[in-house]
Assembly symmetry: C2
Homo-oligomer: 268 residues x 2
């Protein structure tokens, strides 16, 4: 009895997944405004009315797709961070055999770069899902509160990189003038929510950098770089480095000295 309910739920989950997959495929050619329940049903060989057993309305399907997209890019960012750390630990272990320093993650700037690159790579690989979450709002659609959790995964990864750097004493002071008071107030509130130990200036800089990062990705994906920037990956890597500097992550030593040579992404 719980067995047949299990099977039923499994079947339901499978069909739900198939619907979302087909919907995502349609998103890729029609855009979010062209997503049609009927077309999805047609392609899946079901009656359009059957879909309503899985998604009570078109907007609910859209919400599911949006959450999936946020989760996908968030997971890409998290995994990229884990991967760059694992890689660094491997190297460190090899060095320890030769008699060197302690185990740790990768250098802050390398972690930052890895996360940024992962976001861009996910976006390039899934341009329509990207447009769904970071492009023009879908007209007539209001994102429910359930999307904010998944939406904050990428920013949280970026924050964690900066927090770790700060904890390790590897975070400098971001450049720029003192914060205007209302800006400071926003940053204070954000800092209290997600990183109380970080300097307020750093928090404020992170918000700006967060928007700027996606600005570059959006310009590439939405065609603004056509006939302007050809070396997209290298350009992005350079920009990511500059963004790191803006939040106080320096390329080299704790405080001052600049370190490594030119900065192109490993994946490029």
């Amino acid at each position: 009895m719980s067995a047949i309910r299990g099977a039923r739920e499994r079947a339901r989950a499978e069909i739900t997944e198939a619907i979302k997959e087909e919907a995502a495929r349609q998103l890729a050619v029609q855009g979010s405004a062209g997503l049609s329940l009927r077309a999805v049903a047609r392609e899946l060989g079901m009656a359009s009315s059957a879909l309503y057993r899985y998604f009570p309305s078109r907007d609910d399907l859209l919400t599911a797709l949006i959450i999936d997209a946020y989760d996908a890019v968030g997971e890409a960012a998290e995994q990229a961070l884990a991967a760059v750390d694992a890689d660094a630990r491997d190297r460190a272990a090899a060095a320890v055999v030769a008699g060197a320093a302690a185990p740790a993650g990768a250098a802050p700037v390398d972690r930052w770069r890895a996360v940024c690159a992962a976001v861009r790579e996910w976006a390039v690989a899934h341009p329509h899902e990207y447009a769904l979450i970071y492009g023009s709002p879908v007209p007539g659609y209001d994102a429910p509160q359930t999307t904010v959790g998944p939406a904050s995964r990428v920013p949280l990864v970026l924050v964690s990189v900066v927090r770790d750097a700060h904890a390790a004493g590897l975070l400098g002071v971001p450049p720029g003038r003192p914060l205007a008071e209302p800006v400071r107030a926003d940053a204070v509130r954000l800092a209290a929510e997600l990183a109380p130990e970080l300097p307020i200036r750093v928090v404020a800089a992170m918000v700006a950098v967060w928007a700027q990062l996606f600005g570059i990705v959006s310009f590439e994906l939405f065609g603004q770089f056509n006939r302007v920037v050809e070396a997209r990956g290298a350009f992005f890597g350079q920009a990511a480095d500059a963004l790191a500097a803006q939040v106080g992550l320096t390329a080299g030593a704790p405080d001052g000295a600049p370190a490594a040579p030119a900065g192109v992404l490993p994946g490029e």
Copy 2:
């Protein structure tokens, strides 16, 4: 005879304008994908088929709207620059009476700020036109070559601010590491096209800054700043200052001296 042709053409131009106006109004509630020739006709009290005498297809109407939007934001930027210069000249003239220096435009950073603010203000005032040109690409629509001229008005204004600063010896060296080779190649090509006298690093930085500027505007307009940034205008102003520093515009002195509180990175 040429009189009646003149009248006819005037009437035609007026109706064309009315169509575009109504279409823009619809864009504001439906989004670009929901723009419908029939609805425009209905609202204008004409038969839908009559519109085809003015725009051969829906895409042509869309193209006209896109060009208008690019022109509008470009003009806003140009006028803001002219206004800030005029204002500075007024003040200078008043000072001359008191026996001070020669006439000139405003300070480079102020000009930069004015242009950035004008772009944002136009975007906030015309969110749907903004989304049309800087948001997700309209599915199934390919922008014709005729849009690239109007599209480059804003970047050209930004370039002119930097060029003037450079000519006046008021441009510093942008912070950051040396350019990776493919990025340099893009920047060299762009520099040859639109500002041969500018240092390559500055040109490269300008491209990044251009994308970042619109990244901030897009995040604000597309809802990513909801419940995150409340002091939108002040935040944007601060970010615009940081972007100015990235292209080498410093807040203060002519040449080297980092006049303002920490204009450039410590590592550079």
